[in-house]
């Protein structure tokens, strides 16, 4: 009595039987089949199992005459081809993502251009300029407050 084959060997034999094995893996299995009687017995058993599964392969219904005409008639009674809601949602999400990506890319380019053109210092006002702007704002606020009290 031969030792049971491991599942991985049975799975390998299934791939071989299904024609899904190729290249070095196929060559390696053929070499093993020539040398290992238990593997050959396993292959025979997998082939027999496959024949058993396929035993009722030719048992099938056939379309009755006029089947296509009946489907065509039913298709004429259908409403207009529906727009799949799920597909539409996915399309909308894709569009939003594309727009967001484009905005982000444009922002990064703008930031990069500023940095490249003048360095980080170009984004800052000089101390005296900053003071002048603050004084100007203070003056406006005081003027509005005075106007408001006058009214």
């Amino acid at each position: 009595m031969t030792a049971p084959l491991a599942d991985r060997d049975l799975q390998l034999l299934d791939r071989y039987v299904d024609g899904a094995l190729e290249g070095p893996a196929l060559d390696a299995l053929r070499t093993r089949l020539a040398a290992e009687p238990a593997l050959r017995a396993g292959l025979q058993q997998r082939n027999e199992l496959r024949r058993s599964v396929r035993a009722s392969a030719d048992v099938a219904f056939s379309p009755r005459a006029g089947f296509a005409d009946r489907v065509l008639a039913a298709s004429r009674r259908l409403p207009e081809p529906e727009q799949d809601a799920g597909v539409e949602v996915v399309r909308l999400c894709k569009r939003i993502l594309w727009v967001a990506a484009a905005v982000f890319a444009a922002a990064m380019l703008w930031q990069g251009a500023l940095t490249f053109a003048g360095g980080a210092s170009s984004l800052q006002a000089a101390p005296d300029e900053a003071q002048r702007i603050v004084d100007d704002l203070d003056a406006r606020i005081r003027a509005r407050a005075t106007d408001a009290q006058g009214k």
């Binding site: 049971p4 058993q45 058993s52 009722s56 099938a60």
Partner: protein, 196 residues
């Protein structure tokens, strides 16, 4: 001159009924054959096939052409059949395991072909009963591989699963079939090989 699937699809989307009829004619036998594995009733099989082709008609504009048309069609057919089985199971109107139902609805080719050797016919019936009783995911993958002869890649496309999953699920399905055959009908089980 025969048209390719993409040409027919373009014509159908343009409103051609004859193109749709041609596409149906091209695939209806395959779809009936596949659906015959999910029902034993000829009229039910035809209803399912009609449902499949009407879904194709309604959804054709969503077909992406990034896979073969028949892969997409099989996916619709498998989903329609399994949804149908789930509904029927919930309603409990008809049990596949009911032998009376099974015998009453046996497809013609099996009932009438007396030239087929008796043992082969018996094995065919046994195989069918076992497939009927298998979990749906195992039955479907066996049907796609053994009856429809789809490659692993096509099966992965139809079921929306990875290639590795196809291999492992197919292996487990065959093991399940073998166990059921040995338990229920040992007289038809494969000769003892290297895996017992």
């Amino acid at each position: 001159m025969p048209s390719s699937d993409p040409e027919l699809i373009a014509a159908i989307l343009g409103g051609s009924e004859s193109a749709f009829a041609e596409l149906m004619g091209r695939y209806q036998d395959r779809i009936f054959r596949l659906l015959s594995r999910y029902t034993r009733d000829a009229l039910e099989c035809e209803d399912l096939a009609q449902e499949v082709f009407l879904k194709v008609f309604r959804k054709l504009h969503t077909f992406q052409h990034d896979s073969q048309f028949y892969t997409w069609l099989y996916r619709i057919a498998v989903n329609t059949a399994t949804d149908h089985l789930a509904r029927r199971s919930r309603r409990r109107l008809q049990l596949v395991e009911d032998d009376a139902v099974l015998d009453a609805g046996t497809p013609r080719s099996e009932q009438q072909d007396v030239s087929t050797p008796l043992i082969q016919r018996e094995l065919a019936e046994v195989a069918r009963k076992i497939l009927d009783r298998m979990p749906e995911k195992y039955r479907t993958i066996l049907l796609l591989r053994e009856y429809e002869d789809l490659s692993y890649t096509d099966i992965a496309g139809v079921l929306g699963i990875q290639l590795g999953t196809v291999e492992s699920r197919l292996f487990r399905a065959r093991q399940r079939f073998k166990e059921m055959l040995e338990r229920l009908h040992p007289e038809h089980a494969p000769s003892r090989g290297g895996d017992q």
